[in-house]
Symmetry: C2
Subunit: 340 residues, 2 copies
């Protein structure tokens, strides 16, 4: 383990360590591990033998308040105390759920993120946003609660199905378009072969943004939300059944680039270029649900960025730059949905 990224936080900084699957074999004593059934099947053998393990069903349904409660009762029943360490060993669902469990159990115990999916490695495991869903929307309940460390094991990507690699690449595309023109330019050909360097670059971008605005006070961190206003609405609307998170935000980015162009915020041609990037990677850029304009806009009004029902979007200025725009005209959103 040579490479490290350090993320500053209001509760003390933490390290991101890169390595192979052995990272997870070296967990500290008194770890309580939360994982999902798929990850456990592929990688359960690398975990310390005597650690308690709770495995949840894969998928967004495990991010409800019921599984949150079951995890908390499991910790209490198995004798976890304030010096116990919760480990999130899995994708974004496991990381968000286990992180909020750690944030809440006994008013907060330490936790380690050990992300196994590309999406979790490049995005959700870094930055301390943890949480669960309500029927009314995704991630509506949670905390800003940084991990003690993040262990990025590149080996875990080997057992990911192609669809889940593409799912993570949607977030990679996001990083390029919001913050790094060079990353955008390199986004052709077979990205998979360059994954280690790409993962690291995405984490560096995220760490920089989080360092500037850890708890979303200034709007800076909101740029990481590009594509997510529409994407989250689509996920909530479709009940997390048909679209993976990355697929929903791929569609969301395409729509939001068009919103930006309509408002004159985003440079003309950006949406077209973004759509081509996404298509080349095999990601969706539209959905027939976009026609249900009223329902989706209702959901967007409940987005955490919105204030008193006014729509807010993180919009591209051009490939490589993004900005939070509050009080967006609903007509631009309606038109972009219908155009996409």
């Amino acid at each position: 383990v040579a490479a490290l990224v350090r993320v500053p936080s209001r509760f003390g900084s933490y390290e991101i360590r890169f390595g192979d699957e052995r990272l997870v074999g070296e967990l500290p004593d008194r770890c309580w591990i939360i994982t999902d059934d798929n990850v456990r099947r592929h990688w359960g053998h690398v975990l310390p033998k005597d650690a308690p393990v709770r495995s949840v069903p894969p998928g967004e349904a495990s991010k409800g308040i019921d599984e949150f409660e079951r995890c908390l009762e499991w910790l209490a029943q198995s004798g976890a105390d304030r010096r116990s360490v919760v480990v999130a060993f899995g994708g974004g669902v496991v990381g968000d759920l286990a992180g909020f469990v750690a944030a809440s159990y006994m008013r907060g115990v330490p936790y380690i993120q050990a992300p196994t999916s590309l999406l979790a490695q490049v995005d959700s495991s870094v930055g301390g946003k943890v949480g669960i869903d309500l029927p009314q929307g995704k991630n509506l309940v949670g905390a800003f609660y940084p991990p003690q460390q993040v262990l990025v094991g590149q080996a875990f990507l080997r057992t990911l199905p192609d669809r889940h690699i593409r799912n993570g690449l949607a977030e990679v595309v996001k990083y390029g378009y919001i913050a790094d023109t060079e990353l955008v330019e390199r986004m052709s050909g077979r990205l998979e072969e360059r994954l280690p360097e790409i993962v690291r670059r995405c984490i560096e971008i995220k760490a920089d943004v989080v360092a500037e605005d850890e708890t979303e006070q200034t709007g800076r961190r909101a740029i990481l939300n590009f594509g997510h206003t529409v994407g989250h609405a689509l996920e909530t609307y479709t009940g997390y059944e048909s679209l993976l998170h990355g697929e929903a935000i791929a569609v969301g980015m395409a729509v939001e680039a068009r919103v930006g162009e309509r408002l004159g915020v985003t440079a003309p041609g950006t949406a077209q270029r973004l759509v081509e990037t996404l298509r080349q990677l095999g990601l969706p850029t539209t959905s027939h649900h976009l026609r249900d304009v009223e329902d989706l806009i209702d959901l967007m009004r409940r987005d955490k960025k919105s204030r008193e029902g006014r729509l807010a979007f993180s919009l591209l200025l051009h490939p490589g730059a993004c900005k939070l725009i509050e009080d967006v005209d609903v007509r631009a959103v309606e038109a972009a949905l219908l155009e996409s």
Copy 2:
């Protein structure tokens, strides 16, 4: 409103304001009020007319994860956003529940404590400890999340039943014995007549202790837990049915003073004096459940102060001073339970 106490916090300091019921009429716009059915019946008329109000059944049962979920869904359905302010208008149950709802909704919205019970005014509304219960124990889930302000309306004590005044006086006795010999000495005769000055003194003590150790890192804040290791175990064991919180910690203080004397930590005679103080105020100092030694000790091992199952107690040195003692000999606890 002349008198103010200011409490420092890692998220910025906050004010405690003293006054009458009009304090609550001057709440800011966009308040979402959580209260209980008793408080609403007596004092609902002082609330701002157009604020959304959610009233929960009185009692500890409302501090479960089910009511937590219902409050969160109520906020989401009624359009609360990150600029909304949650108001906890009620006793300790409402304050702990509403505080954790505010800490978790959209990863944290501001909240105001408006405590209406003596217990909440002197103790639970100050210091930012919020949370809910699990079947395995009280306050096992929660956050350190300071309020935006605390509004202490002395008028609200007028409608409290005598038993609930005594309930709060148990915490007043605790403050005297852990931190203020003068307060101990004044603890005779009719305390009710001197409630305003007593409430203020208790809040000052709490603010000082919290300022030194907001998130329970050093053991200093644990002195506020005197009587609570046994008291919480008793509450959990009896299912929160027969004993109010103050009654349980009155019994708990009596037992823990005896634990301290047995260990040579607490000056001889302290337990006897404490028991006399409690009896004079009409508070219980024993319970037939104390005979169920094994069950209670099992519950104490799950206390948040315990580490790897070793018992930890905040024990008096003498009236006016207290200290966290870790790894307490279980035999001293068994003997003190049987003696009480």
